[in-house]
Symmetry: C4
Subunit: 224 residues, 4 copies
């Protein structure tokens, strides 16, 4: 995929963020790894104003290579993750409401749904609070997600980062983390209101579900 195609894809993926109610106004961004750097949303631009051409290319020190606009103020975070996690090809950042509510309490989202075992292979971990704009958040993301099955992390008092082999895979994780954050939220409310318990999933069941989802689920032949 050349840069023009990647800009078009990254633009199209950004439009999925408001469509899935994951972002508000200009917040949230997606990046894609490219040779020698990354391509990312410009800072403070609304999703309606975005164009393929407005995406900004930077190197892995977050220095602009190509683009008329300033890159996302989270660019140093994305760059740090790409430098330290070589398998990552795409990153998504949002303040999606349910996941961010969990982040505001500083607690991981417990793995109590088969859909969570499938996609995340366990709880969605919560990283410590870190200042925005520098390498700190990147360090926390890498520290927590390295060797973890979850492609998503929530960051205390802040929001969500997800990673994937491609920007599309990271987007999927961002959509799914909000979905399960909401359902588990609702389950916790219901349990508290009715004096019952949210049922736990046994670790062996989580392992089996995650293995099935990552090895059996989906299309394993080439789809036309």
């Amino acid at each position: 995929m050349n840069h023009a195609e990647l800009r078009a894809e990254l633009h199209a993926l950004h439009l999925e963020l408001p469509k899935n109610s994951l972002v508000t106004w200009t917040s949230g961004n997606i990046s894609a790894r490219v040779d020698g750097g990354l391509l990312i949303k410009p800072s403070g631009v609304t999703f309606a104003e975005l164009t393929p051409e407005s995406m900004v290319a930077t190197d892995l020190d977050a220095q602009v290579i190509e683009g008329d606009l300033s890159p996302s103020s989270d660019t140093a975070t994305h760059a740090y993750i790409y430098r330290h996690l070589p398998d990552v090809g795409g990153i998504v950042h949002t303040h999606s409401p349910y996941a961010t509510a969990w982040a505001a309490t500083g607690h991981a989202i417990p793995c109590v749904l088969t859909a969570m075992a499938d996609e995340f292979g366990g709880p969605v971990p919560c990283g410590s609070f870190a200042p925005i704009g520098g390498a700190d958040i990147g360090q926390e993301v890498v520290r927590v997600l390295k060797g973890h099955r979850s492609p998503a992390i929530i960051l205390q008092s802040h929001g969500v980062f997800t990673i994937g082999k491609t920007p599309l895979a990271a987007l999927k994780a961002a959509v799914m983390v909000e979905d399960v954050a909401r359902t588990v939220f609702l389950a916790c409310q219901l349990a508290a209101a009715r004096g019952v318990e949210v049922q736990t999933l046994a670790p062996a069941d989580i392992d089996r579900l995650h293995h099935r989802y990552t090895h059996v689920y989906g299309q394993h032949q080439e789809t036309p």
Copy 2:
């Protein structure tokens, strides 16, 4: 209805799932009974990518008869239900959020609304946890729904299955179960927050409402 028409209808019904906010990304599926088997969604395909032609035909042992793609990883569950409930012509499976929140607590949704008495004739029952991908879930669905007035079941830690004489009837049940799961959730929250009680419906009232809905409500002449 021939296979081409049924594929078109099944595709159209699948599009109702995201439209009614019952599914996220690729999760959820609908099947229709056909002569000697069933027609079902392919595995791991997003709703936007679905086409009538992508629907997969299998026999009632879940072996593919026709189709280029792998069928839903829930196909063995659907097949089991069709084998054991001869009146069922359509099945819907979702992880719709409110119903799944009830499932996460492992408790049935109590019948406290006239709309529940109408459609479900009582509580929406909750089945035990069962592993995904084999006959186990199908066995649990059949065990609980056989002889039950409810066309819907929630499965602990997992989600929703609904059955109907047609795929459309099963879809209606899937839409209605999420609707009442939400309203009863809200009622429980309100009652807990205000120190009051959710009012119960008398069994005789539930019976009368269900009888009226299934015998009087709707159009009983042929509609043009």
Copy 3:
């Protein structure tokens, strides 16, 4: 307005019900008073299938005058209200989720917002449980709303009825009752979670707000 125009208007108003998330599948209905009777939604028909021509005309004993379909199974309720409240020209019935959650607890929605004082002039009252299909619900609606400033009532374990001089006015009340039911629900949840109180509005303030809204607010000259 002749019958054809009224059918077109009533059809258009029905489409506002799903657009405002007040109804699910076939539930909910609107009627308009006409000379010698009423015009109402047919029973068990989805909103997408409705047409102006499908609306059913009945007399005030709920007997069909014109129309190929069976009228809403709530027609006797609407007819009773028109017989006993001569100023009412339109009626809306829904199971909108937040208002119905209040109804499930059997408690009125307290008047704690200026928007409630404006539109309802006080709490939204809750009527007793009554069986569906006959005059019972109509009697309860008339008993509670006669002489009440609120154009909306919630009915225990069931849903909402709203009345107005026109079907449009009743629709507005149905939209507003769900809106305030949601906001007051959220306020009660927040108060309970944080150990604070929902603030009350003084009766004199409610009176002043309601007078302003019904006498000053809006356009009192003829609008072009």
Copy 4:
């Protein structure tokens, strides 16, 4: 920008209110400062009926200068704010549900999210209850927001006012206040249900985040 352009812009911004689920039926309004006065929504008109020409021009005593319709019944409030806060060029008023739920409890929204530190520089303050239609609300808005970093205030038992250098900036604040009101609501519910705490942000972190957002974030060169 001449008056015709400003009317068109103000009309377009009004359409963002229902699109962002901030308003219901006719409630909510936006104004823009113009030479010698302001331009504002007409009273009691639905958003679908609005046109650029229907916007009403008044002087800063809320007397109509131009327009066939009566101006918003909140015009005196807007006029008071423009008279006392010379930097304000646009004002938005809504009853958006989550922010209004906070207002119903009479408590400020605590600053517990980086997105709140960014946009509001601290908690969103709550003003006292004041009658609608006169200068009282304006006085409360000015008293609380003068010298405050927050462009938004919630008013007890009522709703939200936001201010900005332009109507667009005020709209952004109205969108963001509902967004954070919702996320902090969810966090409080989650904390109460699970017996944990919503994490606080240190004042120094709030200051740093607000400085970064207002000085570094976004595009500081001229964008083409």
